[in-house]
Point group: C2
């Protein structure tokens, strides 16, 4: 194998992580690669965290604004959060250390639609970008950068940053070269033009990032795997949810409302979503395609089984053993996958054009089908909205799925009113729990409430919900979507006070 | 002037309204033209209402499902609602009689994103369509239909309906012919292609509707004006809001974040929105364009003043005297306006591509910038979400505006938590009241709360909001977006109990 840094002029910039991190100053805005734990820089952020720790113990404070594609790994979000090194964070975070700091009010977290991050950076409303730290698989002789296991916002960070630090990760299989499709046709209005993509398997760009070599101030070589959290084996709840969804899709095909090979599937990240994907192996739909944000284990299974023809995404999110396998057998997968910038993988124009079948998780839904995906008890951030809004509003069918209870039954996922809204009822067409599936299309709020309670609520909470609805329908200010403001959030209050939403 | 029905074969279908209405059976789904009170059928619905009244007094019941573009006039929504003739209503209603029935739970109202109505009808999830009743300006010799003062969903209704009833309204000036742009390039996925529109003044379709002549079962001639509600003259509050917005836009141009001629403006319907448009006459931006849902008085003023070069919309929404003037001088306006199907005027693909500056009203916003546009006290529908979601999420800048109080100060438009959400905080970038303007771009929830309270809240409520926020920031489950579920909706509860949100 040739040297991953084939560009002679750039070899002189090779240095160690500490030297690269020394280029970053307190108060900077840094933007890194990384999306759901793949393709993030592994060495420089940790070196930066050491500098921060030193300085915060002495002259301090040393904090930066941190922009990424989405979540990253403990060597980045976790390391910087642990030393109180993050002032502003966008657009998504799932790191447990960072989550605690955010929920203590110590990090200014901007939870953004993932399709909008790059455009907002181009518009200049997020402020100037100082340093980009981007993991790549290699550098070609002409200076073009071979992307790594995620694309995210890398194209935009490379374009917008004053200074670029590259990490070249030898762990990534060089055979990944050619998998990516980096579209350079974006412009700001009034000069925007249609994005020419009409099929998930279509390439509209180049496999490489361009970067002004004069901006590249340091190159650090690494050899480290992505953070790859294992998916749990599907339990009965996940299998039941998967079963309901497959039955629904089968019915839609039978009614002629979906093609026999379905439409491109989008799936959020998580164990339930992964179980649904796995379940599709035994479903009659083929050959399927995916136009989604991340490729997770279940999609690899579908590809292996020949049920999925092509998966388009912006990143991988795999269990360690699946990541190993993919990395090892990259050549055999490369032509069946495309990784794109996240402003393309999640673009409303493309999601609506392609007619994605969107499947996303939730924290809680209310009787009218409003969905809270982010804030536990209305205030405590779990992760973020991610791409769910990009997909749910523009999907051909928008499905949300969840177990009907959490915390051993102490929290009902179906509540009188959600404590926070990420997806308004208009964007929530189907809700699925292990109890059943509620098809809310074409129903008024009054009709939706009945179906959500009947089909989705856990039996332990069903009578309580029915009781609330009945009383709301006599005491509400209006009866379009009856509610009792004095009681609508009482389940959350009760949980906060007693540790359970159930009545004593 | 030639006869408006130039097609000889179709003249035999001319009949009276009662005969046409007699073709409609109880339980049917009927879809009509009409958008914000323009271009709706004026005669057949009233004849239908008379039939319903007769039958409901005898053998009854006679109810239909009613689909439209958006709101219509009292001769349609009002007349059918008054005789309890509406079972299901979509996608938007602002009729006072219908509103009462909806809020009594007597009409199943589906409040939909206006860009999604036609696609959902094509998908078949709304059910079959029996009869379309469409107002047109004329019928050409070849059978092509000359649209009227709104386009709305007419193209789709004509395509989808089993049976078509036309109203040919002589009141509309025949000189309107040529103003419309009906795009017939839409398909269902997987066959959807990019919509080729890249400028608001671009025509991508034909000026006419096509309709299978065999489906046309009746043609009724009318001569009646659209319902045109007068706009109020701007008061001090509206002028202050307009002033803040123009100052903001001026600042954005100065910072190089908006072109000197701005980007295409979108404006919701209403007195405040109209005042903002009028205020733009004295602003330095030109030549502007509009890519919006409706053309209202203020846009005509801007066209007259030469500040607006071109307005693209799906309908007119004008005061009576402005509607008269437009109708009278149609030839001089025709080439500076384009009316399109609402799935185009509101299409996320186009709104995002063009980079619209979206300006919409609201009922209430909360300290984090979540917006309620539809449900008073969380349950009583005012009108509907309309196109505000289509525009706000995809806009280049998304502005929401409102007086800081309503009902003589008894309701605060800024509340601890909105009682219902139509626009999530991610889609609300700027909030404006007469008190000031809050630019929320790039701010975390904690930062947003401070700015919203400081800039937008009425002084009578500011201390109450600060007090709530302070207590929330010590007692909240999480501090990302601090809230107190037991108190968050107490202002609404207090209003319902005492008639005011102010504390006794």
């Amino acid at each position: 194998m040739s040297h991953p840094i084939a560009c002679p002029a750039l070899r002189s910039r090779i240095t160690d992580a500490d030297s690269a991190a020394a280029l970053i100053r307190p108060g900077e805005t840094i933007a890194t690669s990384g999306f759901t734990g793949s393709g993030y820089p592994k060495a420089v952020p940790q070196a930066l965290a050491r500098r921060m720790a030193d300085r915060n113990a002495g002259e301090g404070p040393f904090r930066v604004n941190l922009w990424t594609g989405a979540s990253t790994g403990p060597e980045l979000d976790g390391a910087l959060a642990a030393v109180d090194g993050i002032d502003q964070r966008l657009p998504y975070s799932s790191d447990p250390v960072a989550r605690e700091k955010i929920n203590r009010g110590e990090i200014n977290y901007l939870d953004m639609h993932l399709s909008q991050v790059a455009p907002m950076a181009w518009e200049g409303v997020l402020g100037p970008l100082d340093t980009a730290i981007i993991e790549v698989t290699g550098i070609r002789e002409d200076g073009a950068l071979i992307p790594s296991s995620s694309v995210g916002n890398n194209k935009s960070w490379l374009d917008q940053a004053r200074r670029v630090i590259l990490e070249v990760n030898r762990w990534q299989n060089p055979a990944i070269e050619g998998m990516h499709d980096i579209y350079y046709g974006t412009r700001l209005p009034p000069d925007r033009v249609p994005i020419p993509l009409v099929r998930p398997d279509q390439r509209i760009g180049t496999p490489y990032f361009a970067c002004d070599p004069d901006k590249i101030v340091a190159i650090v070589e690494t050899d480290a795997p992505d953070r790859n959290l294992p998916f749990a084996a599907p339990d009965d709840t996940a299998l039941a949810i998967a079963g309901h969804i497959i039955e629904f899709l089968t019915h839609e095909v039978a009614r002629g409302r979906l093609p026999a090979a379905l439409l491109p599937i989008q799936s959020g990240v998580g164990n339930i979503a992964n179980a649904v994907l796995s379940g599709l192996i035994d479903a009659p739909f083929e050959p399927m395609t995916a136009f989604t944000e991340v490729i997770q284990d279940g999609m690899i299974d579908l590809l292996d089984a020949g049920k999925l023809r092509m998966a388009s995404a912006t990143a991988f999110s795999l269990s360690p053993h699946v990541a190993e396998k993919l990395n090892r057998e990259m050549e055999s997968y490369r032509d069946r996958m495309i990784l794109r910038p996240q402003e393309m993988s999640n673009h409303p124009e493309l999601v609506r054009r392609l007619g994605c079948i969107a499947m996303n998780g939730l924290i809680e839904a209310d009787i009218y089908g409003n969905v809270n995906s982010t804030l536990v008890m209305g205030s405590r951030i779990q992760n973020g909205i991610g791409g769910s809004g990009d997909f749910a509003r523009n999907a051909y069918v928008s499905i949300f799925m969840t177990p009907s209870t959490a915390k051993g039954g102490k929290i009902s996922a179906i509540v009188p009113q959600v404590s926070h809204v990420d997806h308004i009822m208009q964007d929530v067409q189907v809700i699925v729990t292990e109890q059943g599936l509620a098809d809310l299309r074409g129903l008024s709020p009054r009709q939706r409430a009945k179906v959500v309670i009947d089909r989705c609520a856990h039996p332990d909470y069903r009578a309580l919900l029915e009781d609330y609805l009945l009383r709301a329908q006599s005491g509400s200010y209006g009866l379009h979507a009856a509610s009792l403001p004095g009681e609508a959030l009482s389940w959350h209050q009760r949980f906060m006070e007693t540790g359970t939403m159930q009545q004593g």
